[in-house]
């Protein structure tokens, strides 16, 4: 059993090891180790495109996960009181949003938006006197955030709803009984109770958006996210720079995790 687990961990970590190893490659080739060096880290960090792609990914992931978490939590809370057809319809939408492949979401968003812009942009030109200054709608941050947020929001709704369902309802009654206003009850009782669900949903949403390639590939417009950058770099010849980027992302997430863990532990120790 132990041996088996070891084998699976090997399977999981050999590729990671190779990524990290080659990130220190002194040579340019991605498949031949020619001495060790940290030059690729310097290259990656001074590569404005990498830095910009990283920023884009971060902005999109942060915005979409925050919006999805806020709206998703609101919807999950509101859904408690909804029954009948509205509820069934909403459930169906969540079901479909989770089930329809990202690739279809990407394509559908792309052609829907392009079709819509084809109608709207000439109208905008008419409204604004000068064609030069008329704002033009296009794919970009907006479409990326909206498309990522769709899936993330469904995730958040599902997770938070499960959390609400598992919540002891008498706590809310107790709070009301002790004189808390509905908002006070929400803030002091409901929110702390469902918070782990919200946090889990937000983290999942962030991870999903940060790592997504296929939806971004279709709806990113002129923006380059990190996965898009990596994909286009990988398509013809990889340099260890890509490995350095991968290793850095890994290192940063590990640091975040360790920090989060220690904060949580300290929080737990305090209470």
């Amino acid at each position: 059993m132990r041996l088996y687990a070891l084998a699976v961990y090997l399977f999981l970590y050999v590729p990671i090891g190779i990524i990290v190893l080659f990130s220190f490659n002194a040579g340019k080739a991605a498949s031949q180790l020619q001495g060790l060096s940290v030059q690729w880290y310097g290259k990656a960090l001074s590569n404005t495109f990498v830095v910009e792609a990283f920023q884009t990914s971060l902005i999109v992931a942060l915005t979409s996960s925050v919006l999805a978490t806020v709206f998703g939590t609101m919807a999950a809370l509101a859904l408690q009181g909804v029954k009948g057809k509205t509820r069934a319809l909403f459930d169906a939408m969540i079901y479909i949003a989770v089930m329809v492949p990202g690739i279809v979401i990407g394509i559908a968003t792309l052609i829907a938006m392009v079709t819509l812009f084809d109608v709207l942009n000439p109208m905008l030109k008419l409204i604004f006197a000068s064609a030069e200054t008329a704002p033009q709608l296009g794919l970009g941050y907006g479409s990326l955030i909206a498309a990522h947020g769709l899936f993330s929001m469904s995730l958040v709704i599902i997770i938070v709803r499960a959390r609400i369902a598992g919540m002891d309802r008498s706590l809310i009654e107790a709070s009301a009984d002790l004189g808390a206003t509905p908002f006070g009850t929400f803030r002091q009782v409901t929110l702390p109770q469902i918070f782990p669900g919200i946090l889990a949903g937000a983290l999942l949403a962030f991870t999903f958006s940060f790592d997504d390639f296929i939806i971004a590939f279709f709806v990113a417009g002129s923006n380059t996210t990190l996965p898009i950058y990596v994909f286009s770099s990988i398509r013809r010849g990889v340099t260890p720079e890509i490995n350095a980027i991968g290793s850095m992302v890994l290192a940063v997430s590990l640091c975040l995790l360790i920090t989060a863990q220690s904060i949580l532990r300290r929080g737990a120790a305090k209470s």
């Binding site: 498949s31 938006m113 002129s222």
Partner: protein, 382 residues
């Protein structure tokens, strides 16, 4: 800038370049002796004057191009000279670029289309006729019309020449008794025989279908249904014997997984340079010759910067740096004048005339033809 600069001799230039590379002379010395410094400084002055005349070209310019196709240092110096940072989007095929532009909202200011796509872009109204007054570095007389010509549609210049090349094949001769494959007939036959599981073909339709058509001696650009049917049958027969359908064949060729690849000039040059047993050859029957261009899409958000960038990259001194970086030949005589005879005699970059003459440029119809697109898709999903 004048066309007739007093350049030093090619031999002298190469000597100086080697010395500079070895580090025995300083960059300043190198630039001073070769005249590149002059070119650069003049250019810088021109640009800053332009920049002042145009008030401001903005802080960025977005270019869609191919991977490993630009020297990042040139983008840096452009930024230093103009204040506009260059955002590079990398693509894998012309079809993909066209698809992106058709979908709209690309945000590109400059992109790099291949010869056969330009008329389509013009017809679809996706690119603008270039304002040549903003590209003073483009000297029509210096460019080989064979490569620069497709940029002109209905007498208007829509795209200016970047570089050119061929599509042939790279053979790892170590696996074939030191013999390179030299025809498309042989290419497809050996793939179904001794090289089974060792060949790669491109993952876009133009060259893969075109070179399959060449097996039967048909035109590279054929859209004749009967001829395409023959090509499809060949491709489907060959598919199980392929190593991959990919345009990223360098790694597989380098590590020995693939022995034969449908290959572009630049990749062929790089493979041959590092592993002499890999030879780049053209098919006897012909095949593709191509040239790439700079063009400006309609509605480019940073139009002034787009022109500034094209002008900058077409400066012969910069263009030479570019060609040394990406390894494709350029059509600009001013640049060629700066290159060494060795390079100009390189059979990979400049194939023999009889081989060159057999090659065909891709045709506009080939790009848009739905039958060829669907054939390729069927081949890939089979």
């Amino acid at each position: 800038m004048s066309d007739r600069n007093d350049f030093i001799s090619r031999t002298k230039f190469m000597e100086e370049l080697m010395r500079y590379k070895k580090g025995s002379v300083s960059r300043r010395h190198f630039l001073g002796v070769t005249g590149l410094g002059l070119a650069t400084s003049v250019l810088g002055a021109t640009l800053s004057r332009q920049a002042m005349a145009q008030a401001n070209i903005g802080d960025r310019v977005v270019i869609a191009s191919w991977p490993n196709y630009h020297d990042p240092a040139d983008f840096e110096s452009f930024k230093a000279a103009t204040g506009a940072a260059v955002d590079l989007n990398v693509f894998g095929s012309n079809e993909e670029m066209l698809a992106k532009l058709q979908a709209g909202g690309t945000g590109w200011d400059v992109f790099v289309p291949t010869n056969y796509t330009i008329t389509t872009y013009v017809e679809l109204g996706l690119i603008e006729p270039l304002d040549m007054s903003k590209i003073p570095n483009y000297d029509a007389n210096a460019f080989d019309p064979r490569f620069a010509g497709p940029g002109t549609v209905d007498g208007k210049i829509y795209a200016v020449s970047k570089d050119w090349g061929t599509t042939g094949m790279a053979t790892n001769t170590a696996n074939n008794n030191s013999k390179a494959v030299t025809s498309w007939k042989e290419f497809w036959d050996i793939t179904q025989g001794a090289f089974s599981g060792r060949t790669t073909v491109h993952d876009y339709q133009l060259t893969t279908i075109g070179n399959a058509l060449k097996y039967f001696g048909y035109s590279f650009n054929s859209v004749d249904p009967k001829e395409l049917a023959d090509a499809e049958k060949l491709l489907l027969d060959v598919k199980p014997h392929l190593f991959a359908i990919t345009s990223d064949y360098q790694p597989a060729m380098r590590n020995g997984d693939a022995w034969l690849a449908m290959c572009w000039t630049g990749d062929g040059k790089q493979l041959n340079r590092d592993m002499p047993e890999i030879e780049y050859t053209l098919g006897k029957e012909g095949g593709e010759i191509w040239s790439d261009f700079y063009a400006v899409p309609i509605g480019a958000p940073h139009r002034d910067a787009a022109y500034a960038l094209i002008n900058y990259l077409l400066d012969p001194a910069i263009n030479m740096k570019e060609t040394l970086f990406h390894g494709q030949p350029v059509a600009d005589a001013r640049v060629n004048a700066m290159l060494t005879p060795e390079r100009l005699a390189d059979p990979i970059l400049y194939p023999a005339a009889e081989l060159l003459n057999a090659l065909e440029f891709g045709a506009a119809e080939t790009l848009t033809n739905p039958d060829r697109a669907e054939l390729m898709a069927r081949f890939k999903s089979a």
